[in-house]
């Protein structure tokens, strides 16, 4: 059975990631800032690990062309290969993979045939990513699918097509490793969940509680201005304003969210008259944070023990 293994992997945001994945569907919860994009690129063999190893069936994909040929990847940063039109770019990618199918048939299977004659330079960023996902999902017999936020291009590609293709690959014995920033996306992708939090990897048992969505209720005399400012803040996943002086601000981590709200209000000289946390209740949040802290503590202790042992 195939196995993807990360061994003491440190690269950019990632710190000492050690994990292994076998055939089936796996979801990695976390944002790009947590290192999901980097981990997917390393798994796909498009990045050389600065420290540690990435092994697919015992072989490093970065330095082995045959291993890379068995990988279907969809990375955080995607640009199509140079060509006159989209069909040309897809055809070159298929040639590079040793796939004799026509570009049109591959695009058609994902419902993207209408892009075939479009110039590559004329594609919007999301459209180019959708084509890249289509190329990845067209792989005939992948051992590994390493996909960064595959549901981010839903709307251009049908969600059912993506989910059904991933499920069928998982059942066929491939390792399907997808990342998801939103818990709803992770739930839709299904499979075993693990998480990355600021570069630290947490196994499935520790992944879920700490990453629950958090909502802050903010009262301010200038809700419109504050909402506009917060809608661009990286730690804020959503802002709701139903009129009046109250704003609902959503995010994934209490401290960062609260800090972001206060910092943005201060930067715009906007007064906040009240700031309180909405559901989930404080107890649940405290439990979640305690769970994360416990996991972090145990992880640090086990690493310390490993160092002390001869």
């Amino acid at each position: 059975m195939s196995e993807l293994r990360f061994q003491a992997l440190s690269h950019a945001e990632l710190t000492q990631v050690s994990a292994s994945f076998r055939a089936g569907n796996h979801v990695l919860i976390g944002s790009e800032r947590d290192g999901t994009g980097t981990l997917i690129a390393l798994a796909a063999g498009t990045l050389e690990p600065a420290k540690g190893q990435v092994l697919l069936d015992g072989v490093a994909p970065w330095s082995n062309a045959r291993a890379r040929q068995r990988i279907a990847s969809f990375c955080a940063e995607e640009s199509l290969l140079p060509a006159r039109d989209v069909a040309g770019a897809v055809a070159l990618a298929l040639h590079a993979r040793g796939d004799a199918r026509s570009a049109l048939s591959v695009l058609d299977s994902a419902g993207l045939a209408h892009f075939a004659t479009q110039r590559v330079a004329a594609l919007a960023g999301r459209e180019a990513r959708a084509i890249a996902l289509c190329i990845a999902l067209s792989h005939r017999e992948p051992t590994l699918l390493a996909l960064h936020e595959p549901l981010s291009v839903v709307g251009i590609i049908q969600e059912d097509f993506v989910l059904q293709t991933l499920a069928s690959f998982g059942k066929a014995g491939a390792i399907v490793l997808s990342s998801a920033n939103r818990l709803e996306d992770a739930a839709r992708l299904g499979g075993t969940e693990s998480a990355l939090e600021r570069g630290l990897w947490f196994a499935s048992a520790q992944a879920r509680p700490a990453l629950a969505s958090i909502t802050l209720r903010i009262h301010t005399p200038e809700p419109r201005r504050l909402a506009a400012r917060l809608s661009e803040a990286p730690d804020v996943s959503g802002v709701e304003w139903a009129g009046g002086q109250e704003l609902l601000v959503h995010g994934s981590e209490l401290e960062r969210l609260a800090h972001s709200v206060v910092a943005n209000a201060r930067a715009e000289a906007i007064r906040i008259t009240a700031l309180k946390q909405d559901s989930p209740p404080l107890e649940a949040l405290a439990a979640a944070r305690a769970g994360l802290a416990q996991a972090y503590y145990e992880r640090t202790r086990s690493m310390g023990n490993a160092v002390r042992q001869p």
């Binding site: 498009t46 062309a65 890379r68 140079p82 070159l92 040639h95 590079a96 993979r97 040793g98």
Partner: protein, 228 residues
Amino acid sequence: MSGVGVGWALARERLRGLSAALILLLSAGAAFVIGVLERRSDARSAPDDILSGTVFGIALPLLAYLVSERACDGKRLERSVDGVARYGTNRRAALLGVLLASALYTALAGALLTIAALLGAHAWHSSSLSADLRASVGIALITGVVYALYFGAASLLGKRGTGRKWALIIDFVLGAGSSALAAPWPRAHVRNLLGGEPVVALSQASAWLALGAIGVVCVTLSVLRTTE
């Protein structure tokens, strides 16, 4: 399609475009006009002057540099094939394809510049025109190939292949001499082939060999320094 073929196709797509053709045509036009001006100034030395000065001294190295920069997409040589390597193409094979395409484009561009320059520098009914064309086009072809391989290998250095720029400057500065310091650089041997001052008293036959050796060393270095 083999890995070399994929690399070739990748470089061909990067090199295609109106701007590349326009630059080549403008360069050829400029070489012709300078050739005509040289002939009006001194008809006997015009062909030698235009070849050793404008064509092989300035235009061809610059064109080779620009072709290499574009074929590598402004990146390091081995990074320039990452786009196809992710799909399972061997980086070394793809890199050979990229080098092959840039060598062919540079050689053809060099030949075109040489023809344009000689047509300008020679009188239309000159008896020496055809012989000069045969000899010079041969030199242009090998010079184009060697410069492409030279800039390709230099692209292995620097964060975004900035080694290319240094290679151009070093070739201009050190290749202009005739001491042993000039021996590793293409310019010195090209000058010898054109009838100029030889490097450390090497014969013209040795200059062909030296250029070939520089090309082989550059390809070998490029392949060896690249991960599969």
